[in-house]
C-alpha cells in the first residue's frame, strides 16, 4: 500500500490583491522507505503543499483535494487527530533550526517532552531515548550536551538536534523543508548523508523539499519538479537527471554550477523571472522563459501526461520518447 497518496491538491491564499493559487492541483504517491524530492524555486509552492498536508497553513490559506496518509485523509482531519499524527507518524524539519527550537528550554527538556507526550514514557526512559538519538545523529558527548541550551550549539548541530527530535518517535514519514540550505557545504554534506542513512536503516520515507538539485542527487529515489504552483515533471532520480523532458528541468540542471564538468565560460541561465501568480500568462506558465517554446504553448496549457511514475507537463513530451 502506498504510504501517502495525494490527489488534486490545491492550496489558495486570500490576499488583498486577490486569490493566489499557490498549488494548482497536484497528484503524487509515496511508498514506504522511499525518498522523494520536491524541487522548485521560491514561489513554486513546494512548502505550501506540505504545510497544507500538515494543517499548518496560514489563516488566509485553504486547501482542497485529498492527502491520504496510511489510508486517512489528512485534509479532512480534525486538529486533535492531526496532532496525534504529527510528531508520531509524520515528523517535520524546517529550514532555520534556531527559530524552531525554544531558546529558553534545554535540549533535554524539549526532546523528552516530545517522547513523553507521544509514547507515554517515563522521564528517565525518555531521557535515555533522547541521548541515544543524539548519538545516532553524531552529536559528540550527548550525555553532557543534552543539558545545554540551543544557543550553545552551532548551526549544523542544531539542525542535527532537529533531526533527532523528529526521529524520536520513529515516524513513518520525515518531511524536511530545505534542511541544509542555511548551512555550510561541509555540514550540508553531513546532514544529507545522515538523513539518507537513517532512512535506509529504519525504512522511513522522506520528503525532501529543496531548490538544490545537487542535494537531490545524493539521496533521493524519486523527484517531482514544480514550477509556479504546478508539477511539471516527475520520475526517478535517474530519469530526471539523465533524461529530463521538461525544458525547465533541463534549464535547472544546466544552471547548477558543477565541479565535475569543465565549462569555464558562461553558466547556462534560464532567462527572465518566475511569473507573478496573480497575473499568470495564458497557455503554459513557463512559456516566457522557455527556450523551446512553440506556438501552441502560448495559447493552450499543456496536459499532465505519461505513465505512472514518469510524467511531464509539456507538449514536447507527448509522443516522442527517449
Amino acid at each position: 500500500m502506498e504510504l501517502l497518496r495525494v490527489s488534486g491538491l490545491e492550496v489558495s491564499f486570500d490576499t488583498p490583491e486577490g486569490v493566489v493559487k499557490a498549488v494548482n492541483g497536484m497528484d503524487f504517491e509515496l511508498s514506504e522507505g522511499e525518498t522523494l524530492a520536491i524541487v522548485g524555486e521560491s514561489g513554486a509552492g513546494k512548502s505550501q503543499l506540505v504545510m497544507a498536508m500538515m494543517g499548518l497553513l496560514a489563516e488566509n490559506g485553504s486547501a482542497r483535494g485529498e492527502a491520504e496518509f496510511q489510508g486517512k485523509d489528512l485534509l479532512q482531519m480534525k486538529p486533535k487527530d492531526l496532532n496525534g499524527i504529527r510528531g508520531k507518524h509524520i515528523a517535520m524539519i524546517f529550514q532555520d533550526p534556531m527559530t524552531s527550537l525554544n531558546p529558553y528550554l534545554t535540549i533535554e527538556k524539549q526532546m523528552t517532552e516530545v517522547v513523553m507526550h507521544h509514547q507515554g514514557l517515563r522521564k528517565e526512559e525518555a531521557r535515555e531515548h533522547a541521548v541515544e538519538m543524539l548519538r545516532a545523529v553524531r552529536i559528540p558527548d550527548p550525555e553532557e550536551r543534552i543539558k545545554q541550551y540551543p544557543h550553545e550549539y552551532s548551526g549544523g548541530m542544531r539542525q542535527r538536534v532537529m533531526i533527532a527530535m523528529g526521529l524520536l518517535c520513529q515516524p513513518d514519514l520525515l518531511i524536511a523543508d530545505e534542511p541544509s540550505t542555511a548551512l555550510d557545504v561541509t555540514i550540508q554534506a553531513q546532514i544529507t548523508q545522515l538523513v539518507g542513512e537513517l532512512s535506509r536503516k529504519t525504512n522511513m520515507s522522506v520528503i525532501l523539499i529543496t531548490h538544490d538539485m545537487a542535494v537531490v542527487a545524493e539521496i533521493c529515489d524519486r523527484v517531482i519538479v514544480m514550477y509556479a504552483g504546478e508539477v511539471v515533471e516527475s520520475g526517478t532520480a535517474a530519469d530526471i537527471f539523465y533524461r529530463p523532458m521538461h525544458p525547465y528541468t533541463k534549464g535547472l540542471l544546466a544552471s547548477v554550477p558543477r565541479l565535475d564538468q569543465v565549462f569555464d565560460d558562461k553558466l547556462h541561465a534560464i532567462p527572465g523571472n518566475p511569473p507573478n501568480l496573480l497575473e499568470l500568462p495564458e497557455g503554459c506558465r513557463f512559456r516566457d522563459r522557455c527556450e523551446e517554446v512553440m506556438e501552441q504553448c502560448v495559447e493552450t496549457p499543456p496536459v499532465w501526461q505519461g505513465d505512472k511514475g514518469r510524467m511531464c507537463r509539456c507538449f514536447l513530451a507527448g509522443g516522442s520518447e527517449e
Binding site: V185, A189, M213, V216, A217, L252, L259, D260
Partner: protein, 333 residues
C-alpha cells in the same frame, strides 16, 4: 611587470566580547581575520571561499574600511587605506565598491530604485543636474538588465534577483576600480544565481574591474575567478590559480571542501567514497587549536602540525599554501 592595484598585508581584525557575570568579568577575543595577505591586479578576479566563521565577510569589510582593522595594511594604488582619516577614506569610496549578500536588506525600503542608484551620484557629484543624473541612472539600469521604466518602483516590488541587480547598479554608478561581492548569490534561486554570475562576469570584462568574489561554495566561485583563496578560521589556507586548484588542490581543507560539494549526478554522487571527509564542526573560536589551525580535523596531520603554525608559503608555480606537507600529499581530484 605591472604592480598590483590592491595589496593586503597581514590584515587582522579581532573582536572582543565580554562574558561572565559581575564577578567573573572575562574579556574574550575572537580573531575573525588573523593575518591575511594577498595581491590583486587590475582586471583580475579573486575568489575567496570559506565557511561561516572563516572571516571572509569581515575581511571584505576590513579592506573597505567599514570595520576597523587591528593590524596590517591595505594598499590601494600605492596608498595605505588604513592610515587615512575618515573624510579622506570617504572620498576613496568612489573607486571601491561592495555588493552585499542579502539583496533586499541592502536597499532602503523607503527609496525608489532610481534614487537608490542615484544616491552615490548625489553624494559625489552634487552639481550634476537632474537630467544627467536621470540619464545615467537609466543607463545603469539597462546595463544590469533592468527595465528603465521601473525606475520609480520600490524594493519590495522587485524580486530578489532584481534587487540584487539594483544593488549592483548602485555600486557601479561611480565607475569604481574594485568591486567586492560578498556572497552576492547565496540568497538567490539557482536559475537566478546563474544570471547574476554571468552578469558580474560581463560587467567585469566590460569595465575592467578588479573583482573579489566571496562565496561559501567552490563550484560557484569557479566560474568567475582567476585565482581562488581558501579561508579557514580567519587564515588563508591556500591561494592558487583557478585551474590548478580545481585539478590538484594543495591544502587538505580545500580538498575536503571540494569533496563536500554535492554533485548533481545520482550515480556519481552515490559512488563517491566518504572517507577522508571532514568530521565534526569547526572548533569554537574561543578555543583555537594550537599549531596548524586545521590540524584537529585534518586526515593528513603529523606530529609537527600540532605544534608549529605553518606559514603561507609560495610554491614554484606561484601558488601559495599554508601546510607543512604541501608538496608531499597528492590531493588530485
Amino acid at each position: 611587470m605591472s604592480k598590483p592595484v590592491l595589496r593586503v598585508q597581514d590584515l587582522a581584525v579581532t573582536f572582543t566580547s565580554m562574558s561572565g557575570g559581575l564577578l567573573h568579568r572575562q574579556e574574550r577575543q575572537i580573531r575573525a581575520v588573523d593575518g591575511i595577505s594577498f595581491d590583486l591586479m587590475a582586471g583580475e578576479s579573486l575568489g575567496i571561499v570559506g565557511e561561516s566563521g572563516s572571516g571572509k565577510s569581515t575581511l571584505a569589510r576590513a579592506i573597505l574600511g567599514l570595520i576597523k582593522a587591528n593590524r596590517g595594511r591595505v594598499m590601494w594604488r600605492g596608498e595605505d587605506l588604513t592610515a587615512l582619516e575618515e573624510e579622506a577614506m570617504r572620498q576613496r569610496r568612489k573607486e571601491l565598491q561592495i555588493v552585499f549578500q542579502d539583496p533586499v536588506a541592502s536597499l532602503n525600503p523607503r527609496m525608489t530604485a532610481g534614487d537608490i542608484i542615484a544616491e552615490p551620484l548625489w553624494t559625489f557629484y552634487p552639481n550634476m543636474d537632474r537630467l544627467q543624473v536621470d540619464e545615467r541612472t537609466r543607463g545603469m539600469m539597462k546595463m544590469v538588465g533592468l527595465l528603465p521604466n521601473q525606475i520609480n518602483r520600490y524594493p519590495h516590488e522587485f524580486s530578489g534577483g532584481q534587487c540584487q541587480r539594483i544593488g549592483i547598479a548602485r555600486s557601479l554608478v561611480l565607475n569604481p576600480r574594485l568591486m567586492i561581492c560578498d556572497e552576492p548569490v547565496s540568497a538567490l534561486d539557482v536559475s537566478i544565481q546563474a544570471q547574476i554570475i554571468n552578469l558580474l562576469k560581463d560587467l567585469q570584462k566590460k569595465l575592467g574591474l578588479a573583482l573579489i568574489f566571496i562565496a561559501h561554495d567552490l563550484s560557484v566561485v569557479r566560474h568567475i575567478s582567476d585565482r581562488v583563496m581558501v579561508m579557514y578560521m580567519g587564515q588563508a589556507m591556500e591561494v592558487s590559480e583557478k585551474a590548478r586548484l580545481y585539478q590538484r588542490p594543495l591544502h587538505p581543507y580545500t580538498s575536503a571542501l571540494m569533496k563536500s560539494v554535492p554533485i548533481p549526478d545520482p550515480e556519481r554522487a552515490r559512488a563517491r567514497s566518504h572517507d577522508s571527509w571532514l568530521t565534526g564542526d569547526m572548533p569554537s573560536p574561543y578555543r583555537r587549536p594550537r599549531g596548524c589551525i586545521f590540524h584537529d580535523r585534518c586526515p593528513y596531520r603529523v606530529k609537527r602540525c600540532e605544534a608549529d603554525v605553518p606559514a603561507l608559503r609560495k610554491m614554484e608555480n606561484g601558488d601559495w599554501v599554508a601546510c607543512h606537507r604541501g608538496e608531499d600529499i597528492d590531493l588530485s581530484i
